[in-house]
Subunit: 409 residues, 2 copies
């Protein structure tokens, strides 16, 4: 069954913020068995909102709108819906009572501007917002369903994954199961060759998307029941894993840092990092995983040569002979981190992230990554492309992968 | 003059990737004096692409489409345009010649699939792609203009900011100047009160957008010439700065880390960091600024208590008496970093980022940030909301702001 979505707000169209809700809605609808057939951004304009709603409801039976439900004068979604459906806007006494009670409980002053959030198009059901003030709206029009959600991320997600998910469950058509595999170290074109006919399968479908130094493979199966769809998806996931082996780092859409932390936990190993060009980005990625403190001791942001020499014992002679961006320095950083922090694995990263600082011998994008363990130290020379932050991210990605493959071997 | 945009691709609607091109197009159109009136995402379906193009061209005179110009079977934008305009698709000998020459020069095999990229709707001008294979297309239909760009980010941006920018310059209506101010430390509602009537101005307009622990104020002025628009925008920017003072950290859309690095450079001061819950994120933000090595010595990711004690000399007694997340520990981290690295400023961050690890006394979101300098050490206790990464980001933002205000005082 097809569904459409509309994001409302000048800030989206003028490019002040990115419409990430569109992606969230896409994933949400797919996981609920809907085909997300079209998404539209419109401005804060009653006529344009109404027009977009009318057009969408002429094409599909399920429409979700986001934004424009707040208290200010440019929040016009209520008015747009009322115009599209040719309805009046009325006060909802239940919502007014609840909002006033919440304000009173927090000793906050009720503001006449807030009255706006107690209003709804006459046929709408107002759904209280668990993490904010503006209620969501749900309207049934014959066999069609129109939902409007507030725009702030936490409120939007809380309502979408909560009450709206329940509400749409009854409209679910066939059962669809999606699995995301993530692959590192294989270019997309190469991947298509290795996967061969699997890429042409109709059910499940397999679609590749290129990320930052990884490829995501989206497996989508549909079936008469959830069990059938699960089984189909599972078989294809297994077939892909057989073909790609260790290049698949997750079959459940985990970030590479999450996979590495989980492997370290299982093997009861500890990790420390020494970062130069990445400046803490590797540590930030690892510590973004809850519970990483079990395995991550910490690290050194050895941005200056002095810090490299003093904190992780890189030989000053090598720093001046080979330069800070070199195989011996990366090696000594990894080994120094491992020794100083007394951890099982030490990672060292040093490179030229640009945009300046490159030379013909050492161009922007040249990065050395090193992994020290009791088995010895491995150094890789990388030639990365992209802007400063992409080069840095790619260096963290390949460092994590170097450790992952070591942990698997 | 209104313009619309269309992004084409299943991967956008199914939520596999975020449609960041929509934001880029929004900024591009605004800066070229167009009002971005609507953006639409459609699937890889000839009929749906054609339908969306027809609808948009009925509303506006300028339409930019992105995606679906590659060589594979799901790249259908050429066909969609041809269907919408009722035209045939023809081979472009100039494009074919150029692409074959490029392949030959790189010793790469010409592949029959690539023929598709030498085709264009009959009335289209093919614009060669400087960083990839798929050409862009530009079509004039009476006074209307339809542009189609390839989807890969580098190709899209290279063509948009290059040839397409030139092409649209001739269609520019009034002159529009946009300035972005960034503000930290003031809630949005408070900001509106402090700015008063400025928020209601019609030319320039002033629009606030809430970011992660900051507010962006977008000032948009239009005028008969670029000079007039520049002057109007400049006057409003000055008026805002008078009202908000040091709470404005940039009048040119710079990131807070960029502003701090620039202040440090001007004052010839150096910085080091000690990070616990942020795990390197502060260092990563600072080092994302090119040239930060002039002022940033490095830092310690003191994730474990042992590292806090050993590397930056936090007293073990205080770690056990007050806990790792406490005022004295943040203070000693900042002071330890400053002393060990021999820098002018030391920053220490320790907190509970969640989702686990909170207690009634020390809930998730409790973060201590400390700044040590020759004037002494200042510690702030923060109560931050959001998920793990948002709490961490907010802690880095307020640490940078603490240093910025010290540098301004």
């Amino acid at each position: 069954m097809n569904a459409e979505t509309i994001s409302i707000g000048n800030e989206l169209l003028f490019g002040d913020i990115c419409d990430t809700h569109a992606q969230t809605l896409g994933r949400f609808l797919s996981s609920h068995g809907f085909v997300h057939a079209r998404h539209t951004n419109v401005r804060d304009d009653v006529e344009e909102i109404a027009q977009a709603i009318r057009e969408a409801l002429a094409r599909v039976n399920t429409l979700i709108c986001v934004g424009g439900l707040g208290p200010t004068h440019d929040d016009l979604t209520r008015e747009g819906i009322a115009l599209a459906l040719n309805e009046e806007i009325v006060n909802d006494p239940g919502v007014e009572h609840e909002l006033k009670a919440r304000y009173a409980a927090r000793n906050r002053q009720w503001n006449p501007l807030l009255e706006k959030m107690t209003m709804r198009p006459k046929s709408a059901l107002a759904i209280l917002n668990p993490v904010g003030s503006a209620p969501a709206l749900a309207i049934a029009i014959d066999d069609k369903c129109l939902i409007a959600l507030p725009g702030p991320k936490e409120e939007f997600e809380s309502l979408l994954f909560g009450r709206i998910s329940q509400l749409l469950a009854s409209r679910r058509p066939s059962h669809i199961v999606t699995r995301i595999l993530r692959v590192v170290g294989v270019p997309e074109s190469n991947l298509e060759i290795r996967l061969g006919d699997l890429m042409k399968s109709q059910n499940p479908t397999v679609a590749p998307y290129v990320g930052k130094m990884e490829v995501r493979l989206r497996v989508t199966a549909s079936g008469a029941s959830n069990e059938v769809a699960e089984r189909l998806a599972g078989e294809t996931v297994e077939a892909i894993c057989d073909l790609l082996g260790d290049d698949v780092f997750s079959t459940s859409d985990q970030d590479l840092a999450e996979v590495v932390v989980s492997l370290l936990k299982h093997q009861k190993k500890t990790l420390g990092v020494g970062e130069s060009c990445t400046g803490g980005m590797l540590g930030a990625r690892i510590t973004s995983v809850p519970g990483s403190s079990d395995v991550f001791e910490g690290g050194f942001i050895t941005y200056s040569n002095e810090m490299k020499a003093r904190e992780v014992s890189v030989a000053r002679y090598d720093l001046s002979k080979f330069g800070a961006v070199s195989d011996p320095v990366a090696r000594q950083m990894a080994e120094g981190v491992r020794r100083v922090l007394n951890v099982d694995f030490g990672i060292g990263i040093t490179g030229i992230a640009g945009p300046d600082g490159g030379t013909p011998e050492k161009p922007v994008g040249l990065v050395y990554i090193a992994l020290a363990s009791e088995e010895g130290t491995e150094v890789q020379e990388l030639r990365l492309s992209g802007d400063r932050d992409l080069i840095r991210y790619r260096a963290t990605q390949l460092s994590l992968d170097l450790l992952r493959r070591r942990l698997l071997s």
